[in-house]
């Protein structure tokens, strides 16, 4: 509010202020905008955003998210940005008949983040909802200022009326579709079936799928891979204490667990080995991934190249009794099991996966020499 000049700055003739504030995903975004009507078209000139998302971990990301969301919000306000149905078919097909905001529509933009040290809240979507009402409120105000009685109908109400009538018309069309075309569905039945699958499929993230998919180019891409290894794109390394590891490490968890069903075992092994062929020498796993199965997979994949790679694994859970356990005797027990699964005589980097609140840190640090 303060930053926008609202209530203090006098705007050029024809421009007006508009304000809206909305909370979503536990964050609040407020917009103060300047807008006008030019040749019957609403124009957005300037946007000042006030954002409250508690601690902004990366303020530039917050700024980018708000800008992107606002452009999307602007798009939905522009004439021609509605999807309409005729006889059960979507009338629009491409950008020729469907409007999105273009670079010439882009307003000046300032994002101000309210300082806070509280735990961060959502900062992807909250920038979208308040843009359209702020813009509409500004257009309504601009229209009142123009004060040409009866001559100019409120543009915002025109926009709203336009949308409402389109909506009503579309709604009637849809009703018509429902009533008259029970056989002739809106979509081809092929997609209908696939859509149902997609809805179920949507709850399974694609982590393991993408791992598995990346294993495929084994035959087709080898040449270019070799080329890049031989060239300047050599993997850099860095020091982790006494260890030297590739700058890119491979977190192997999602091959076996936590992102949908486990990937095919042989594919998972191929992925890990091709990562190594591409220069990765640092592989991360844990007892709890699977549980157990990821260490087993990583062990098998790395056994032939054990001396060329660095393996990290983790302890800290009691997978039999449940809960956390970092007692020295427990660590000694589970590290043996991890070594067996990893098919090796050493774990190069062994992390405590979770702090065990029952233990004072000195207790196990003092005795955890493996």
């Amino acid at each position: 509010m303060d930053k926008s000049g609202y209530g203090k700055t006098r705007l050029p003739d024809g421009r007006a202020w508009g304000v809206a504030v909305h909370e979503s995903f536990d964050s609040v975004v407020a917009y103060v905008v300047e807008a006008s009507v030019k040749d019957g078209r609403p124009v957005l000139h300037r946007v000042t955003a006030g954002v409250h998302c508690n601690l902004a971990v990366n303020p530039r990301t917050v700024e980018a998210q708000v800008q992107g969301a606002a452009v999307m919000g602007l798009s939905m306000c522009l004439p021609g940005s509605a999807i309409t149905l005729k006889d059960g078919v979507v009338e629009q097909s491409n950008f020729g008949d469907f409007t999105v905001a273009r670079i010439t529509d882009m307003p000046e933009f300032d994002v101000h983040i309210v300082p806070s040290a509280e735990p961060p809240t959502g900062m992807g979507e909250p920038g979208l909802p308040p843009l359209a009402p702020a813009f509409a409120n500004a257009i309504a105000a601009a229209d009142r200022q123009a004060a040409a009685p009866a001559a100019v109908q409120s543009d915002v109400s025109r926009v709203i009326e336009y949308r409402a009538s389109k909506r009503r018309a579309a709604m009637e069309k849809k009703k018509h579709v429902t009533a008259a075309q029970t056989k002739n569905r809106v979509r081809p039945s092929r997609r209908d079936l696939l859509a149902k699958i997609a809805l179920v499929g949507a709850v399974f993230p694609f982590g393991s799928l993408s791992w598995a998919a990346s294993a495929q180019p084994n035959n087709t891409n080898n040449q270019s891979d070799n080329g890049s290894r031989a060239g300047d794109n050599k993997m850099k390394t860095r020091k982790l204490g006494k260890l030297e590891v590739s700058e890119f490490g491979s977190g192997c968890m999602s091959i076996s667990a936590n992102y949908g069903p486990p990937a095919d075992r042989s594919q998972g092994i191929t992925v890990i080995r091709s990562a190594n062929e591409k220069g990765v020498t640092f592989f991360d796993t844990a007892e709890v991934y699977g549980p157990y199965t990821n260490e087993d997979l990583v062990g098998e994949a790395l056994a032939p190249i054990r001396n060329q790679v660095v393996i990290a694994s983790k302890f800290g859970f009691d997978l039999e009794a449940g809960g956390l356990n970092s007692r020295p005797e427990h660590i000694r027990k589970v590290v043996e099991a991890s070594l067996r699964r990893l098919k090796t005589d050493r774990i190069d980097l062994y992390y405590q996966h979770r702090v065990d609140p029952k233990l004072r840190s000195k207790t196990w640090l003092a005795r955890s020499k493996i």
Binding site: G7, V28, G50, P133, V186, R187
Partner: protein, 192 residues
């Protein structure tokens, strides 16, 4: 008494999973037919716009009673729109008493208003899915333009009027950084 109708626009909901699943199905069919080669599946933009999911169209109608100072005495609000989650795996979490929470999110929270909210979910053949920020795409538009209408009808500055609405519930200094002082204060901070 103020009577007002407003509606937010429909847009294309992007459901990329659809094409991923389709690609997998086609690849499997190709393999079953003896083709041992990668299969590329491509949806043109025309396919995407005509065969995707859509943000459900919503119609709002509100009848609002307020006094000359803008104090809201009664608010009767009706929302009509297809349910997004009914029939999906999310139904059990989102639909209560026949009302899809994704259609009403953002309605009640912003201001402490005495509101009666009625929701109708017509059953239509249009495949619907969420758009970025889901229900807030239409509830924020409707609520924030209506709040402006009340401010205008009672000749008040729209910002001062909102601050007063927040302040009625949480009389906190508007510009203080929030230290866990409730969402109304967060809103005031964002607006300040």
């Amino acid at each position: 008494m103020c009577r007002w109708r407003a509606a937010a626009s429909a847009g294309v909901s992007r459901a990329r999973a659809t094409i991923v699943v389709e690609a997998c199905e086609i690849a499997k069919a190709a393999r079953a037919a003896g083709l041992n080669a990668p299969v590329r599946t491509l949806w043109s933009r025309e396919d995407d716009m005509r065969g995707g999911y859509y943000r459900p169209m919503h119609l709002h109608r509100a009848r609002i009673g307020f006094d000359e100072r803008g104090k809201v005495l009664a608010w009767d609000h009706v929302i009509v729109g297809q349910s997004i989650t009914t029939g999906s795996v999310f139904e059990q979490f989102q639909v209560k008493n026949g009302i899809d929470a994704t259609a009403t999110e953002g309605m009640r929270d912003p201001y402490p208003l005495p509101m009666r909210l009625t929701v109708h979910h017509p059953k239509l053949n249009v495949p619907v899915l969420w758009w970025r920020s889901v229900g807030s795409t239409h509830t924020a538009f409707v609520m924030e333009t209506l709040i402006d209408e009340i401010a205008r009808a009672t000749k008040q500055d729209p910002v001062a009027y909102r601050m007063r609405l927040f302040g009625d519930k949480h009389p906190a200094p508007p510009r203080r950084a929030a230290t866990g002082g409730g969402q109304e204060r967060l809103r005031q901070d964002a607006l300040a």
